[in-house]
Every structure is written in C-alpha cells, then in structure tokens.
Symmetry: C2
Subunit: 442 residues, 2 copies
C-alpha cells in the first residue's frame, strides 16, 4: 500500500518538524477512548499488518513527484521522504488480547517526524481489525460452540475490509470464511455452499441439488429456501440415497430466510425421520449475536451459522473511538486538554490482576516506569524498525484469544451492557504527571 | 486485486455449470431491496471501479495453484480459470444518479459462469461507494454550500474504504479529502491543517502556530483547541501581523472539540474585532449531517466542516441491503421466492418522470422490452468485456450528481424520513411475468 495513504497534514507537519530540527524521540500511544454502548470489552487485532506496514514503509518516486506537483513541499522534505524508513520501536498488546478504554494497545517510539507520519494508516489498520475482532468475539460467545463462518465479503467496506474481517473473525474464534482470498493470504479455512442463482438457473430444484452434489461431492450443503424450504428438504431426502449410492454423502442443508427457528425444527424433524442424523442444519440471513442467541434459546436445532454483513461491518457499532496521541517528546511528557477529549500523558503500561479462578479482576494504567501489581499487557514487538523474532503466528493468537475470552468475568460475557464497567484505574503517579504537564504547558 | 477476492461458492458453482454445459447467457441485476430507515434516496457510485474490475479480471498461476491445493476443483475448472476473461455486457445507472429500492443500478449479461463469478466483488465495490455517496449527499444538503472535506481515513474500514470514501464523497459534492493517496489516484483536491500532536510537541502553542505557518505559508489553518480555544485564537490574532509582514496570511482557525456553536461565535467575534474577516472558521470533531444542520440552524458562523468517521463508515446506516440476483438464464426469466426476499424477474429498465419544474415525479420499473413513459435510467456502459468510449469522467459524474440533487423533490431533501416514500411502480407486464415464472418453476 502506498506511503501516501495518510492524511496530508502528516506531511505538512513533517516538513515543519524538519525545518525546526524537531527530530527527537517521540512516543505516541494508540488507544480507544470509550466503549461503544453495545460492547463490554474489546479484542486487540491487526498488529501483524501494522508491523508489516511499518517494515515496508517507503515512498516511490511517483509519489514524491505527485507531492512536488502539489506545491508547498520543500526540497528538504522530499529528499527526506526519498530515503525514509521506519526506524522506531513498537510495544503492543498481543493480538487476541482483551482490553478496555484508556488502555494503550500500541506504543510507537520513534523520531517525531516518523512517528507522526504513520498515525493515519496505523489507526486505519488497528481500528478495523480490533472493531471486527471485538464484534466477532460476541458472536463466538453467543454461538456457544456452533460452527461459525464469515459470509460478509460482499457488503464489507471494500477489499481490505473483507480480508481483514475474515482474519479478525478467525482470530476471535470463527471456524473460517467464505472469502477465498483470505484463505490464500492468511491460511484460514474456507467454506462454501451454493447461491440462489444456482437453483434458479436450473428449471428444476432437485436437478440443481443433484448437479451441485456431483460437481462438489465432498459433503455438499444444499440451499433449500429458494422457493419452499420444506419442499426443498423433501427433495434432498429423496436424493440422498441416489447420491449415497455413488459415494456422495450430503453434508447439510442451509436455511437463509423466513422463521429460522421454526424452519430448523421442521427440517431437523424431517431429516431425523428419514434417518439422516448426520445431515447438519446450517443457517444464514441477516444474523448477528442477538439473533443467534435467540435462536439457540428457542431450541433451534442449528449446527452452524453464516454471519455476514453484521460481522464484516460491525453494523451495530461500526466504529471505535480509537486515537493515536503524542504522550512524550524529547523525554518530556505531553497531553492535550481539549474539552471532553483530554488524555493521560506520558509513556504508559497496563497491568492486569486476576482472581483465584484466573478471571480478569481489574486493570491499572500507570507510568511505564512504575512498579504495579499484575501482569503487564504491553510487550516489545519491534525494535529499530525490525520486528522481534518469535512473535505469535495467527493460529497462536487465535488460541490466545480463546484463553482470554475464557478469563472474562461473567458480568462481561453477556450481550447486554454490564451493570458496572470493568474496573480500570489510573495510577496516582499518572495523575500527578498530568498535573505537572498541565502546569508546564502554555 | 486478486480474482480470488470472491466467495468460494462462486467457484464451486462455476464448476457445476461447466460440468453441466450451462454456459448460456445469464442476466444478473444489482439493486437495493430497501432504504435504511435514515435515508430518503440513494446515489449510485462505484461504476468506474466495477468496470475496472471486470476489464482486468484474470487468475494468476499462484491463485490456480492455491485452488488446486484446496482439493475438489476439477482440472477442467482450473483450465477454464487460467484463460478466463470477462466477455459480457454491462448496463448501469450513471454514477451520481439518484435511485430508489427495487431499481436495478447495474445489469450484467454474460455467460452464466462469468456472471456468477463476479457477484461478490461487484457488490463489494458498488455497495460501498453507493453507501458513502448516499451518506455524503445528505451532508452536502445539510452543509448548504459550506466547504466540506473528508477527514475519515483513519477510521474508514481499511485502505480501499478510505480511498473509495474520498472518491464517493467528492462525487456527491464534497470539496475534497485529507487523504493524500486519493488525491494522487482520483485527482481529488486534498486539504490539510495540523494535528494536536504538533501543538503538543512544542512547549509553547504560539511558537507552534508560527512554526507551522512558516513551514506551510499558503493560507495556513491553525488548530486552536489543544488547550483553551479562545486563548489560542488570541495568539493567532497576535501572530497575524508578524506573519503578514513576511507575506504569510493566516487562512483560518480550526475548532475540534467543545460547544462548536458557542466557540465559533466567540472566535468569529474575536477575529472580526481584530479586523481579520478573511480568516475562516473551520470545524471538525464527530460531525455528521445532523450536527452540521444544527450548527447552521443555531447561526454558527462556520465556513467549512471536516467530516470523518460518520462519513467514511456511514455510521448511522453502515450497510445497504444490496443484492445481485439472477433475472434470466438462456432467455428465460427467473426469480427467487424466498420468504420476505422475493424479487421481480426478467431483464428490467427503470423510467423516470419529472414534473413541470424538472423535479423527479415518480419511477416505473418494467421489462426492458416495454415502452414506458419517462427517461430510461440504465445506459449501456460495457459491451463484450470492453467499456464503451465516452463514459463520464469523475468530474462529470460529480456535476451530474449535483444536477440530480437539484431535481430531488422537496419532501426527500430533509434529513428526517419523508412522510411518504418516493413513488416507484412495478409495471403490469413485470407482474404478469412474475406469475408466469412462478408457474413454470418447480
């Protein structure tokens, strides 16, 4: 991705920093200011792509030429950009980690112009994947072990959103995605059934099912709602022995419209009566964590769910209030005091305590040089522009996320807002630092 | 973008079509089933990128190899994919056109396997840009001629979402974007001010303003809310003659937090009292069409707005119910009848009537071979896989959109839902066709 995928003002500010000789180390932290009303916790994601971005950051001659054509950019800035590489350090909450508002999940320490330039794209990457992983985790909790597949590519916000959503959903515990490219790129399992158009293209629904099964004999899943759901299932049952005689075992049926609880019960009963207990019932169609929880509470015998638009756009909360703020420059702590948007200054760490059962019991945000009780969340991941060896692979991050979700307090596991937020305390040393910084800033 | 950016089932269905010899012409139409509750109309966008996708569609050997490794894909399918190019026709509503539910905005006519394969990515492109253009048009109506700039890259859903949002917002009437790469890629004007971090990095706010102006002397805009808004404006006023003596004219001040109506009035009064009537007041910070309309109704003297997250994610309605459905195969009309999701069959056209003042007065959706009153909305844009010459450029589409918005009935121009929806009638011939199709489908 182009290094120009940034806000123009980052380049203007770089120019001013260079002219003023302001190239001392700066520390920026990325955090979320507050939880959306519909969330009890968030799941950190996107670090791998963030580090990829930092490691590969470079301007092409074509990009430099475009900047020159815009006017107002100095030869000195353009020269600097020609050779620019990211040489800083990064500390971060590992992917799959549960976190809360005011807790930094990514810390960049680099010469000020570099640390400034990377703001827009770092936020763009980490915000999206964290948004989707946080949504997906709720669906995983609601799904209670059912198979979950990302179906959202078509209404994801562009190509990268579809790929990042597939990755973040897998990280948070989904079983796979329908997006083929995500399979190739991230090694995620890919799933697929059939579309209505396949049935429609055939004059006869039964013929469509048979054709599909013969073309795709590995446990095919038949879409049964194009015309009449139960009538279609009767055709699947009728076809079953014909296909089985040729070694093709129908894997399941997919419901995509109507009253999914009623249809799933009727369909399950039909399949069971025909002795087809191994044929699963898969459901899709405008699903989210609330509908899935409702279906399961109703006793709907559904074995798996395809979740699309609501997952890939986090449609009930399509953004997080994620920001990237200067915390320190040239060793001096900084903060903004804008109305309603003041931040805690200085380089920070987050420590987490657990109760006797290993459940999360409370976090402490303090100065990184404090000694607080608990486990520190931010870990070193990049030094001098190169990622450290031994960082977790995606599968390991997925296992970490599952372990983190198992450690959630019961009060945060529900889909409704918890009665009380998870306790995140700001240390006394950090409060004292804020007072010092305010006194020193004109 | 990879040809594998599609749902896996498209490839499975292609395989079944090939094995059955089902390569007759198919017609699919892309439309939106219903308006989000917060919208009175939609604006078509993304056609240029959709045609780019179709013209460049091709599989690489690496992608074929990956598919082969998945198992279940036949040598015949893989061979077919190796040489695959899109050879079909496309008709579409021109970009910037206003449209309503049930009205096709893109029609693909191609051999069935091709027309099926392209579904996922066509939807992915057209859904997003149409979503953002439809949101941006509301902000343009609310802005009533004020300068509007897209500030949303950091919380857009990934790289492509940021670029497409900048493009769609410009198409709908925004004045430009802060995203540099969108300027390079689409020729959109780019804008930039400064960030809080720039002020924070300096020990002294006035020194920060002066440094910024000297580095960027073309009408610099100063961000004044890092600590205390009015105190910062006093510094800008104090600096103004110092900078003017060196030929640098401060262009404006930007407010980003607090009560923007109150601050803008106070700041405007301070600037006017100092004789700085040419220094504009620019506002940003969690803005959307409702907040902009409210500020202007309050008489806030704001000359321009930066709109970020709410624009780039269409946060109040982050998805449209956009679908791509088989309407005809081998010359025979088709439709699905799924509960709550039935569609009108056959190849369609939309005709629009206007009243004496040139305002939109009602649409008619009918069979493409009917003769209906009004102007047909769908136009030929691609034949045999190549786009037709003379298609509108982005600037022309932007002018078209402005003309379309000027033709909106008054009832649809407000931000609140209209009392009655815009009239879209289904022709009697289309209703008759639906009855025929249902009778013929088992």
């Amino acid at each position: 991705m182009s290094a120009l995928l940034t806000d123009l003002y980052q380049l203007t500010m770089m120019q001013a920093y260079l002219e003023r000789g302001m190239q001392e180390p700066a520390v920026f932290e990325l955090f979320v200011r507050k939880l959306p009303a519909q969330r009890n916790f968030m799941v950190a994601a996107g670090l791998e792509q963030a580090l990829d971005f930092l490691e590969s950051l470079a301007f092409t001659e074509g990009e430099i030429d475009w900047l020159e054509d815009q006017g107002g950019f100095s030869a000195r800035l353009l020269d600097e950009l020609r050779g620019l590489r990211f040489t800083g350090d990064v500390d971060a909450v590992p992917e799959g980690g549960v976190f809360f508002p005011d807790e930094p999940i990514l810390r960049v320490s680099a010469p000020l112009p570099q640390a400034q330039l990377v703001e827009s794209r770092l936020l763009n990457i980490v915000h999206l994947q964290t948004l989707i992983a946080s949504k997906a985790a709720r669906i995983v909790l609601a799904g209670a072990g059912r198979q979950l597949v990302d179906f959202g590519m078509r209404r994801a916000h562009g190509a990268e959103a579809a790929l990042f959503a597939a990755r973040a959903a897998w990280l948070a515990g989904f079983d796979g995605t329908a997006t083929a490219e995500a399979g190739l790129r991230y090694g995620i399992p890919v799933f697929g059934t059939m579309a209505h158009s396949f049935v429609q293209a055939h004059a006869d629904e039964r013929a469509a099912f048979e054709a599909f099964a013969r073309a795709r004999p590995r446990r095919p899943v038949m879409l049964v709602d194009t015309y009449d759901t139960e009538a279609a299932v009767a055709k699947v049952i009728d076809l079953y022995p014909v296909l089985a005689a040729d070694g093709i075992l129908v894997g399941g049926v997919r419901l995509d419209s109507g009253d999914l609880a009623a249809h799933s019960k009727a369909v399950r009963a039909m399949l069971d009566a025909a002795g087809l207990k191994d044929v699963i019932v898969f459901a899709s169609g405008n699903l989210d964590e609330h509908r899935i929880a409702g279906l399961l509470a109703d006793g709907a015998p559904i074995d798996g769910f395809g979740v699309g638009t609501a997952l890939d756009t986090s449609s009930d909360a399509p953004t997080l209030d994620a920001v990237y703020k200067l915390q320190s420059y040239a060793g001096i702590a900084r903060r903004k005091r804008s109305e309603g948007k003041a931040t805690w200054p200085g380089v920070k760490q987050v420590w987490r305590r657990h109760d006797a059962r290993g459940r999360m019991a409370g976090d402490h945000v303090g100065r990184a040089d404090e000694a607080c009780d608990g486990d520190p969340l931010l870990q070193p991941v990049m030094r001098a522009g190169r990622r450290l060896p031994g960082l977790p692979k995606l599968g390991e991050s997925r296992a970490h996320c599952a372990a983190q979700l198992a450690r959630l307090p019961d009060a945060l596991r529900g889909l409704e807002p918890a009665a009380a937020p998870y306790p995140v305390e700001i240390s006394e040393a950090l409060r004292a630092l804020a007072r010092e910084v305010d006194a020193a800033t004109r």
